[in-house]
Amino acid sequence: MIKLENINKTYFGAQPLHVLKGINLNVEEGELVSIMGASGSGKSTLLNIIGILDNYDEGDYYLAGKLVKNLSENQAAEFRNKLIGFIFQSFNLIPFKTALENVALPLFYQGVNRKKRNMMAMEYLERFGLKDWADHYPNELSGGQKQRVSIARALVTSPKIILADEPTGALDSKTSAEVMQILREVNATGITMVIVTHERGIANLTRKIVHLKDGLIESIEENDPDKMDFTKEIK
């Protein structure tokens, strides 16, 4: 599903910063992978490249068998819209739209009509227990609710891949556990999932842990999350 070959990325600022120094990684369909590393190890950059939110300088990146390189903004938008669902640490919900409108937004960009869009969005909100909160604005929701709204938004287009950047970073441990439980359930339906985290407890709930250090993959650890008591593992 995701195939990275010798990915290099440098930020050209006042001081050029070589963030990724040749990343080779394969993620198969349906896998649940976490990327761990200290801050500055390049894990978020890597996720952004996978999500086509950022470009890379060298190497090749194949997504669902297609080479993602020098895409036009239109092609990139299409890829993001159809194949990828994003979950962010800071939720990135649009503040002046209700939960329902936020979830329906990706469908708007697919050209789905209003009625069908709202119906589908409501379905997903219901699935995450947010039916009664559909007309609330993000600032009227708790952190856990916000993250569930953003998970619903990521899933509403039935993407192939979910990319989550520190999905529990802004949540307390109990809510984190709930969110992780949801993400595992989503993965169980066959959706490939890549989670960036710096928390060992979160990584332990994934099947494959990629350790990143100074822009290189240090090791890839196989893991069996079912052995873990995840409520205890987190924090």
Binding site: G51, R80, N81, N92, L105, F108, Y109
Partner: protein, 418 residues
């Protein structure tokens, strides 16, 4: 693309910053308002000046008899050239000439009953009325039939009529017989003073006076032309005509005098050129004023886009195409400019219509000699359409730069922007 969702997104964005939207829009309203007022004032001036010529045909020429200035072929300078039937025939033979109206002048005494006064009696043809914008108040003007039958009829001006009827029981002169230089005429009409404001004028058929006085002298000839649309055409025609008349009367074609030829067409083209220049000047000022409004909108759009950078980043991550973001920002700017522009336009048109109707009921602004200087200061539909086009162009121009900047930013940079 332009469905209900698209518009509701735009109006939501505008509503979120109501005060800002209104203040920005005000600059546009004001710009268009002033543009309309200025254009109306320009139109009012133009209408005022042209209304003085309104009853007059503009494609006319006038030739006056005059003295020569240069000696020519044995003739001494200072000879008076009096035009006659030959000149009229010459003019009638020219294909550029439409109608010829010769004028014969006979001054004299006008007598009715006990009253008398001096009068300038002009022998004219019916076309004189249109060429000189004679405004008939009562009765009729000289007709073709009068010409044919050489009727002894006369049209006098209202000033003469008032004087003749002063302190009498009569209220009208129509159908009455008056004596001019001892010859009897029947009054058929009363007209307003001519456009030069001359008082004590009477008009009789040219053929009648020719027969009565047995006189072919023709002091003045007025004629209308056709197919001479540009100043160059008219200048060329005028030179050619002067040459022909000079040959007829044997004076030098280079003589500045001999006969005077005056073209109202050239004058009118000149006048129109002045008004077109004024009009261009007004548009330049108006557009310059509007530009300050457009810069305001553009500035606000830049701030709006900056504020919404995060949101735009999120939208991009969710699959918004650059074109949809570009379009929504440009349309937002377009909506501000057109809505507020229209408010300004409607206010401007409203004010000019009110001024116009007040002026109409007050009888118009005039210079004291009965000449209007300011009439109907309003704009017509073509100006409204041009102004709308200007608004649309400026709206797009104002929104495009900020929109383009927001499209260029990478989604991840936009989302991380604080």
């Amino acid at each position: 693309m332009f469905n209900r969702d698209f518009w509701s997104e735009i109006f939501m964005a505008l509503k979120r910053n109501k005060l800002r939207t209104i203040l920005t829009g005000f600059a546009i309203s004001w710009g268009i308002f002033m543009l309309i007022i200025l254009l109306s004032a320009g139109n009012g001036l133009k209408n005022g000046v042209t209304s003085n010529f309104a009853d007059r045909i503009t494609n006319t020429y006038t030739i006056w008899s005059s003295s020569t200035e240069l000696p020519y072929k044995g003739h001494k300078a200072g000879r008076f050239i009096m035009m006659n039937n030959k000149d009229i025939q010459l003019l009638e033979s020219l294909h550029q000439v439409e109608e010829v109206s010769p004028t014969m002048s006979k001054g004299g005494n006008l007598i009715f009953g006990e009253k008398s006064r001096t009068i300038g009696l002009e022998g004219i043809k019916p076309i004189y009325k249109n060429i000189h914008g004679i405004n008939v108040l009562e009765g009729r003007f000289i007709s073709e039939n009068d010409m044919k039958t050489k009727s002894k009829v006369v049209v006098i001006d209202v000033d003469s009529k008032d004087e003749l009827l002063r302190n009498t029981e009569e209220t009208t002169l129509i159908g009455k017989t008056v004596f001019i230089n001892g010859l009897s005429f029947t009054v058929v009409g009363v007209c307003k003073a001519n456009m030069w404001g001359e008082r004590g004028m009477g008009y009789a058929p040219y053929s009648t006076l020719q027969a009565l006085y047995n006189d072919n002298d023709c002091y003045q000839i007025v004629f209308t032309t056709k197919g001479l649309d540009t100043k160059e055409d008219n200048e060329a025609f005028k030179t050619e005509l002067k040459r022909k008349i000079a040959a007829l009367h044997e004076f030098s074609p280079d003589d500045k005098r001999g006969v005077w030829i005056d073209s109202q067409m050239i004058d009118s083209l000149e006048t129109m050129r002045i008004f077109n220049t004024i009009n261009i000047f007004i548009w330049v000022i108006g557009i310059a004023m509007l530009i300050s409004g457009v810069v305001g909108v553009s500035n606000i759009m830049r701030i709006t886009v900056k504020e919404r950078t995060n949101e735009i980043g999120i939208r991009k991550a969710l699959g918004a195409k650059p074109s949809s973001i570009l379009l929504s920002i440009v349309m937002e700017s377009l909506v501000i400019t057109t809505i507020f522009g229209y408010i300004g336009m409607v206010c401007g048109i409203g004010v000019t219509e009110i001024i116009s109707s007040v002026m109409e009921s007050a009888g118009g602004l005039s210079d004291g000699n009965g000449m209007s200087v300011f009439v109907d200061p309003t704009v017509d539909i073509s100006i409204v359409i041009s102004a709308t086009l200007v608004l649309i162009i400026s709206g797009v121009a104002a929104g495009f730069a900020p929109a383009w900047n927001s499209v260029k930013v990478k989604p991840i940079e936009a989302m991380n922007y604080r």
